[in-house]
C-alpha cells in the first residue's frame, strides 16, 4: 500500500505534463480535425523562448516566458494555419504529412540556431526543494507543473463555456456549415483556435524546461503520447483529454513501477487499443447525426 501511494505523485506529474501537451492538441486536432505534427515543435519553440529570455530575466525566466511563449508558439501556429493548413480542411491525412514536413524543417532550424546539444533553463529559486507526499519526494517544480496544467484546463473550460468567442468555437466544431449559416466567420474562428492551441503548446514547452534539459528533438518525445491522450479522450472533448491524461499518466507510472520502462509503453499502447474496443470514439463522444 505504501509503495502504491508513493507512486501517486510521480504518476500525477507525468499526467500533468501529458495534459499540458494534449490540451493544445484537443484544440487543433479535436476541434478542427487537423493533425498537427508540428505541435511538438511549437513546444520546442516555447522551451527555447524561456532559454532566450533567461539572458534578461535570469532565474525568473520560466514565469516571464509563459506569456511570451504562448504568443511566439501561437504566432507560429497562425502562420502555419494561414499558409498551409487552411487549404487542407477535411483532408486530415494530408495535413498530417504536411505538418510533419514543417516539423522536420523547424527541428533543423533549431539545431542550426541553438546547436544540437541540449541546453538548460534554470528553474526559479522559489521552486527549489519539494514536499513529501505519501513517502516520496515531490519537487516543487513538478507541483508547479501540476498547478499549471490544472489552471490551463480551467482557463480553457471557462473560455469555451463562458465567452462568446468560445461558444462560437464550439458551434463551429459541432456543425461547421450550420455555424457558417448563422453568421459565424468560421475562417476567423479557425485562426483563433489554431492560435490558442499552438500557444498552449508553447506553454507546455516552458513547463518542460523545469523537468530537464531541452533540445531540438524535445517535441518528438511527447507528441505520440499526447495524440494517444486525445484519441482516448474523444475528439475535442476537454473533459476526455483531462481524464485520459490522468489515466495514461498513472498507468504509465504504475506499469513502469511493476515492470520496466520499456514494457510500460507497450502496456500503455495495448490498454488504449483495448479501451477503443469498448469506446471506439474515445471517452466522450460528440453525438452527431451527420453521416460520414
Amino acid at each position: 500500500m505504501e509503495a502504491l501511494l508513493s507512486q501517486l505523485p510521480i504518476g500525477l506529474s507525468i499526467a500533468a505534463v501529458l495534459m499540458l501537451v494534449a490540451l493544445g492538441l484537443t484544440f487543433t486536432f479535436g476541434q478542427m480535425g487537423v493533425i498537427n505534427m508540428a505541435h511538438g515543435e511549437f513546444m520546442m519553440a516555447g522551451a527555447y523562448t524561456a532559454y532566450v529570455l533567461q539572458d534578461w530575466t535570469g532565474r525568473e525566466a520560466v514565469l516571464a516566458a509563459l506569456p511570451v511563449a504562448f504568443a511566439v508558439a501561437g504566432a507560429m501556429g497562425l502562420v502555419l494555419e494561414r499558409a498551409a493548413v487552411r487549404r487542407f480542411y477535411g483532408r486530415p491525412l494530408d495535413t498530417l504529412l504536411l505538418t510533419w514536413g514543417v516539423s522536420l524543417v523547424l527541428q533543423q532550424l533549431a539545431r542550426d540556431i541553438f546547436g544540437a546539444p541540449n541546453v538548460q533553463v534554470r528553474a526559479p529559486g522559489w521552486l527549489d526543494g519539494g514536499v513529501r507526499m505519501f513517502g516520496s519526494q515531490l519537487p516543487y517544480t513538478r507541483l508547479f507543473i501540476i498547478v499549471l496544467a490544472a489552471v490551463s484546463a480551467l482557463a480553457i473550460w471557462a473560455y469555451q463555456n463562458r465567452t462568446r468567442q468560445g461558444r462560437r468555437m464550439r458551434s463551429v466544431m459541432q456543425n461547421r456549415q450550420l455555424a457558417a449559416c448563422s453568421g459565424i466567420d468560421t475562417g476567423r474562428v479557425d485562426q483563433l483556435t489554431f492560435f490558442i492551441g499552438s500557444g498552449l503548446a508553447g506553454v507546455a514547452g516552458v513547463a518542460l524546461t523545469l523537468i530537464g534539459p531541452i533540445g531540438p528533438n524535445l517535441g518528438t518525445y511527447y507528441i505520440v503520447d499526447a495524440f494517444l491522450v486525445v484519441v482516448a479522450g474523444g475528439l475535442g472533448r476537454l473533459r476526455g483529454a483531462v481524464i485520459a491524461a490522468l489515466a495514461l499518466g498513472l498507468l504509465d507510472s504504475y506499469a513502469e513501477f511493476w515492470t520496466d520502462a520499456s514494457l510500460a509503453k507497450v502496456i500503455g499502447f495495448a490498454a488504449i487499443v483495448v479501451f477503443l474496443q469498448a469506446r471506439p470514439q474515445g471517452l466522450f463522444v460528440l453525438r452527431s447525426r451527420a453521416l460520414t
Binding site: P92, G101, Q108, T220, V224, A261, L263, K265, P280
Partner: protein, 369 residues
C-alpha cells in the same frame, strides 16, 4: 503503342534496366546500395497498397519491417554462433540460456516463414481490433505511430533479448556466403530485385481483382460499401496484412544486404520517411510508390553525406511542396504529362482514362466523428 501495351512494355524496360544494365554498370559497392534502396521500395510498395489504394495511412510500417528483419537476423546470429552457443551480444549482456523466443529461429525455414507470417499476423490482429470498431483515418494513423514508438522503446529496453540500441549486426555467414564479398552482394541484389518485381506483379494483380476494386471503394466511401453488404473491416484488414507482409519481406532482405537491423531503423521517423517516399513517388500508383522508395533513399544517402543539415531542409520542403502542389507525386505528374502529350498529338479532348480520384472522400469522414 496502344495504352494496353504501355504498361507491360514499361515493366519490361525497367526490369531490363534493373537486372541487366545496373549490374553491368555499377561496381559492387554501388550495387549493394541499390539493393538497399530496392528493399525500401518493397516496403514502399506495401504502403502504396495500404495507403494509396486503401486509404489507410500507416505510420508504423517500420514495426513490420523490423519484425521481418529481426526474424532473419535472429537466424543468422544463431547460425554464426553455431549449435549450442549463444549469440555474441547475449554473452556480453550476461544472458546464460537461449531465450525461448529465440529457440525456433535455429531453423532457416522457420525464420523465413516468420519474416512473412509474423508481420502479417500482427497487422491482422491490430487491423481486426481497430477496423472492426470503425477506428479509421487519423485515429488509425496515430495508433500505428504509437505502435512504432512502443515497439522501438521495447526493443531498446530488452538488451539481452534483442541487442538493445545496437540491434543485431555482424553476420559472417549468410546462407553459406560471406556477405562482404562481391559475389554475395551481387547475388543479394538479384534476389531483392526479383522479389520486388514479383511482389509488384502480385500487388497489381490484387488491385485488378474484385478485392482490389472493393479496397478502392472502401477508401472512397466506406459507409457506402457497408450499405452494399460488404464488410469493410475485412477488406481493410487483408490489405493491411498484405502490406505488413511486404514490409516484413523488405526487412528480411535488408538484413543480409546491409548487415544490420536496429531500433533506429524502425522507429517513428524511419516509418514516416517511408510514407514520405511513397507520397513523393506517387501514392495512387503502385509503381510510383516503389519508385519513391528508391528515389528518396538514394537522395538521402547522396545528399546527407555532404550536406546533412541541407538534406533535412530539402526533404522537408520537397515534401511540403508535393503535398500542396502535386498530391499525385512523380507518378501523378508523369501521367499528367503523358496525357497532355497524347491530347496534343491526337487533338482529342481529355483522355478516356479518368484520373484516379484522390481519397478525399474517404478521408473526409474523419473530420466529422
Amino acid at each position: 503503342m496502344t495504352a494496353r501495351m504501355r504498361g507491360p512494355a514499361l515493366f519490361t524496360a525497367v526490369a531490363l534496366l534493373v537486372l541487366v544494365v545496373a549490374p553491368a554498370v555499377l561496381d559492387p559497392f554501388r550495387l549493394g546500395l541499390l539493393a538497399k534502396y530496392l528493399c525500401f521500395a518493397i516496403a514502399a510498395l506495401g504502403i502504396g497498397l495500404a495507403w494509396g489504394q486503401g486509404g489507410m495511412l500507416t505510420l508504423g510500417q517500420g514495426v513490420f519491417f523490423g519484425l521481418g528483419g529481426y526474424s532473419m537476423a535472429m537466424y543468422l546470429k544463431l547460425h554464426d554462433a553455431g549449435p549450442g552457443n549463444l549469440p555474441d551480444f547475449m554473452v556480453w549482456s550476461g544472458v546464460e540460456r537461449l531465450p525461448l523466443l529465440w529457440k525456433p529461429f535455429t531453423s532457416p525455414v522457420f525464420a523465413i516463414a516468420a519474416a512473412v507470417v509474423v508481420p502479417a499476423a500482427a497487422a491482422a490482429l491490430l487491423g481486426l481490433l481497430v477496423f472492426r470498431q470503425r477506428v479509421r483515418g487519423a485515429y488509425f494513423a496515430i495508433l500505428s505511430q504509437a505502435l512504432a514508438a512502443a515497439f522501438t522503446i521495447w526493443l531498446v529496453g530488452q538488451q539481452g533479448l534483442t541487442g538493445g540500441t545496437n540491434g543485431l549486426t555482424h553476420f559472417y555467414d549468410v546462407f553459406g556466403r560471406d556477405p562482404e564479398t562481391d559475389g554475395a552482394k551481387r547475388i543479394f541484389y538479384f534476389v531483392v530485385a526479383v522479389v520486388l518485381g514479383a511482389l509488384y506483379l502480385l500487388a497489381r494483380q490484387l488491385m485488378k481483382s474484385r478485392f482490389g476494386r472493393l479496397l478502392v471503394a472502401v477508401r472512397d466511401g466506406e459507409d457506402r460499401v457497408r450499405f452494399l453488404g460488404y464488410n469493410p473491416a475485412t477488406v481493410k484488414t487483408v490489405a493491411f496484412a498484405v502490406s505488413a507482409a511486404m514490409a516484413g519481406i523488405a526487412g528480411a532482405l535488408y538484413v543480409p544486404v546491409v548487415g544490420i537491423i536496429s531500433p533506429s531503423l524502425l522507429g517513428v521517423v524511419p516509418s514516416i520517411e517511408l510514407v514520405v517516399a511513397v507520397a513523393i513517388g506517387g501514392r495512387f500508383s503502385l509503381a510510383g510508390a516503389a519508385l519513391g522508395g528508391v528515389l528518396l533513399n538514394w537522395a538521402h544517402t547522396t545528399f546527407s553525406e555532404q550536406y546533412p543539415s541541407g538534406w533535412v531542409y530539402l526533404q522537408g520542403l520537397m515534401f511540403i511542396l508535393v503535398i500542396m502542389v502535386a498530391p499525385g507525386g512523380v507518378a501523378g505528374a508523369a501521367r499528367w504529362a503523358a496525357e497532355a502529350i497524347g491530347r496534343r498529338r491526337t487533338g482529342r479532348g481529355p483522355s478516356s482514362v479518368p484520373e484516379p480520384a484522390g481519397p478525399t472522400h474517404g478521408q473526409k469522414e474523419v473530420a466529422a466523428p
